[in-house]
């Protein structure tokens, strides 16, 4: 088998892009189909997708893929003709087959074709092919059997033509004449199942960019971005203006050097310039930020599938409602929130929602509701996962935590409702007696907490026993540029991400209390642990002792803490700069930024600080 040459490489890339897109839609469509099994249009679309995938892969000689896709297509074809009825069992198998197709495609993408076990899945498909057609019920049950050779025939027949032509000269693959696929074949029939010889071993995609091993589920392509031409034009315009302003600035400087301006003129000119520069750069910033944005749909769309299979495994009935999937957020955030959301959904499905019988007994409708919603609020995106299940039983949670030795009776007694909720985030905590496939190891919620913290996000829990729970995630829109609060600690300037700042106070230090060596402040109804940045960052005392200082109350995930600083400088939007690998992982420091005067200011990592305080308290 000759190595894939340049032409083939292009074909291959086209194939991968198309297939990936089709597969992304396919999952969604299949789930919808289960609910609306008489939607012929949808049925046909699904059929076409899998058909296209089969056609294209047989053209390129991906043997395994063809086999799986072909059998799936056959089953779908029977469904389409109304010979079989859509039921959960069939859907399970079809979804399994789709997953296999995804896996195979991701193998191809990674450039390493592996021998995957496909027989298992295929053998599950086979019974549905031999099963007698549901002739008796068919006319009655499936209201609108797809009109064969009717409305939907033209598009499919064209595709079939392609497949047929491709399969005719499939072995050896038509490396020399890729145009073959576009030649329409008059006698278009469904391509016969391919019996290909040993030489049809799938070939390797020559220079694979990255072998994405172990990431078989990730079919999305994050290395390139598609940008609307309009947005690009806007950007170009802004850059043009920036160039104008730069010229203006050079001019002003020249005039100043030559000394032919008076002070007032200069002030006015320079003031104007500053304003315009400010305007243009913020516009530019917005534009570039927008280009990095992705709709949260990218993450949300895999959930219907997950919820469905979980509901079937758990024997629960769930109605998943998704709102605000068009909400956009930065790619960096999109990449990170997938995992925590899955865990939260699992949690809601497994612990939150009851079984249909339990629900009926509790006077609720059989079908549980799970609402997943995303919305913008200022500089944050808020994602909420809400179920109408049994809610968090704080008594039980508390008891479990004591049983597991995660805290003492005394500690438990002193806890507020909210602190009790927070117990579920403890690593190793689970109310389940036995770990199952789905949950019970006490890992999930810990993952949620760590990931959300990593994103500078905050989690809130609202829950009422018997009524359901809601997990609210507040996440920053982007990780590259953040709003920050600049504070001064004995002459040194530090930047605190505003997303984690809850409030600032000016306090007399004499109001601080000391509990077990830990300085605390009574703030309304809560006792706030304090941390002196001066102490933790070893800043030299520069000013005379002053009774008054400022306390910046920060929150990370579910914890609150007060940072004691000398002075508040102000609020500023800052770009995050990495400190490089040599200075990575300094406790309490998340990175650095460059201030208006060119100085470097360090960005405080409230999450790390809170952890370090907890760590000390534990010791």
């Amino acid at each position: 088998m000759p190595p894939i040459d340049c032409e083939d490489q292009e074909l291959l890339e086209g194939f991968l892009a198309e297939t990936t897109e089709l597969l992304e839609k396919l999952d969604d469509d299949l789930i919808t189909l289960e609910k609306a099994s008489d939607d012929t249009e949808l049925m046909n679309r699904i059929f076409r997708s899998i058909h296209t995938i089969k056609g294209a892969s047989s053209f390129l000689g991906f043997d395994l893929l063809v086999k799986v896709a072909h059998k799936t297509e056959d089953v779908l074809n029977r469904l389409r003709k109304g010979e079989l009825l859509v039921n959960p069992e069939i859907m399970d198998v079809i979804l399994e087959a789709t997953d296999l197709v995804k896996l195979l495609v991701s193998d191809i993408k990674a450039g390493e074709i592996q021998e995957r076990e496909t027989e298992g899945t295929i053998s599950k498909l086979l019974p549905f092919l031999s099963e007698p057609a549901v002739s008796a019920q068919a006319p009655a049950a499936s209201a609108a059997p797809a009109p064969e050779g009717g409305v939907d025939a033209p598009p499919t027949s064209v595709e079939q033509a392609q497949v047929a032509s491709a399969s005719l000269d499939a072995a050896p693959p038509p490396v020399s004449e890729p145009a073959a696929s576009s030649v329409p074949m008059p006698d278009a029939t469904v391509a016969p199942p391919q019996k290909t010889g040993g030489e049809m071993v799938p070939k390797k995609a020559a220079p694979a960019p990255k072998p994405a091993e172990g990431k078989s589920e990730d079919l999305s392509d994050n290395t390139t971005v598609r940008v609307d031409v309009k947005r690009l034009d806007d950007l170009m315009n802004q850059v043009g203006e920036l160039v104008l302003e730069r010229n203006r600035m050079i001019q002003i400087n020249q005039n100043l050097q030559q000394g032919d301006v008076n002070k007032d003129d200069f002030n006015e000119e320079f003031g104007k310039l500053t304003k315009r520069m400010n305007f243009v750069t913020s516009e530019l910033q917005m534009q570039v930020l927008k280009m990095r944005m992705l709709p949260v749909e990218k993450v949300f769309k895999k959930f219907p599938r997950i919820v469905r299979s979980m509901a079937r495994d758990l024997g629960k009935e769930v109605d998943l409602q998704i709102f605000g999937e068009e909400t956009e957020l930065d790619r960096s955030v999109v990449d990170e929130i997938g995992d925590p959301l899955i865990h939260l959904i699992r949690n809601a499905m497994d612990h939150g929602l009851e079984t249909p019988d339990e629900r009926v007994a509790a006077g609720k409708s059989r079908v549980g509701t799970l609402v997943l919603a995303a919305v913008h609020e200022g500089n944050q995106i808020i994602i909420s996962i809400k179920d109408d299940g049994r809610g968090i039983d704080t008594d039980r949670v508390g008891r479990k935590a004591v049983e597991k030795g995660l805290l003492t009776e005394d500690q438990l007694a002193a806890m507020s409702q909210r602190e009790m909720f927070d117990l579920i985030f403890l690593p190793g905590f689970s109310t389940k007696e036995k770990a199952t496939d789905l949950s019970g190891r006490g890992v999930g919620m810990d993952v949620v907490k760590t990931n959300i913290k990593k994103l500078n996000g905050i989690i809130e829990i609202k829950s009422e026993k018997g009524q359901g729970s809601e997990f609210i995630l507040r996440l920053p829109l982007t990780l590259a540029i953040i709003q920050s609060l600049l504070v001064e600690v004995e002459g040194e300037v530090y930047s605190i991400p505003l997303s984690s700042v809850l409030e600032t106070l000016r306090v007399d230090q004499r109001q601080f209390h000391l509990i077990g060596g830990q300085e605390v402040l009574k703030l309304r109804d809560m006792v706030l642990p304090l941390l002196r940045l001066q102490k933790i960052f070893n800043v030299q005392q520069r000013y005379d002792k002053n009774d008054f200082c400022y306390v910046v109350v920060v929150g990370a995930a579910d914890k609150r803490m007060g940072l004691v600083v000398t002075r508040l400088v102000g609020q500023q939007e800052v770009a995050i700069k990495s400190l490089g690998s040599y200075l990575a992982n300094i406790p309490g420091i998340a990175g650095s930024t460059i201030l208006g005067d060119g100085q470097v200011a360090l960005i405080v990592d409230p999450v790390g600080l809170i952890d370090s305080v907890e760590g000390n308290a534990g010791r």
Partner: protein, 164 residues
């Protein structure tokens, strides 16, 4: 160019011409491979970074990039000195990352042939880690200590650095 200085004893490298940037530190003269030096700048304001090894002076803004600054004097356990007009930061490429090193003064770029490099004597004064000395150049009127910066931050040290 990674190993330009390492095979000191092999015959080919003996005749090869090497360019070194020479700098001063506490009355001694040192040299580093010119290809490792990205630029030489005057002392800007350094932002202190807490909880780092004592020889890390902090970070600076190098045209929009934040790079760490290492005090060579502190690193080598020499007496600390006030920064003056001669003080420079040599920005160098250490294993693909930029780092700045504070030195007393940078003097010149010199050319030497590989054969002039002698292995360093067993005992070197002034506490410079034996590890990072690639050799000594003994010319009529000067003695130059050749440094290998990549060795200066040995793997272990980097880990410590990272996990501090």
């Amino acid at each position: 160019m990674n190993n330009a200085l390492v095979p000191v004893n092999s015959d080919e490298s003996r005749s090869e011409l090497i360019q070194l940037v020479s700098f001063n530190l506490d009355q001694e003269e040192y040299g580093v491979d010119v290809l490792k030096v990205r630029e030489i700048i005057r002392m800007p304001t350094v932002t202190r970074v807490p909880n780092t090894p004592h020889y890390v002076d902090g970070v600076i803004n190098l045209r929009g990039k934040v790079i760490p600054i290492i005090s060579m004097r502190k690193k080598f356990g020499l007496m600390e000195a006030e920064n003056d007009k001669q003080t420079r930061i040599m920005v160098m490429d250490v294993d693909g990352e930029l780092m700045g090193f504070i030195v007393d003064a940078v003097s010149e770029v010199i050319r030497i042939s590989g054969s002039e490099i002698q292995p360093s004597p067993a005992v070197v004064a002034s506490g410079v880690d034996q590890e990072c000395i690639a050799g000594v150049i003994n010319q009529a009127e000067r003695l130059l200590v050749l440094l290998d910066l990549e060795k200066m931050f040995s793997l272990d040290e980097r880990k410590v650095f990272g996990s501090l």
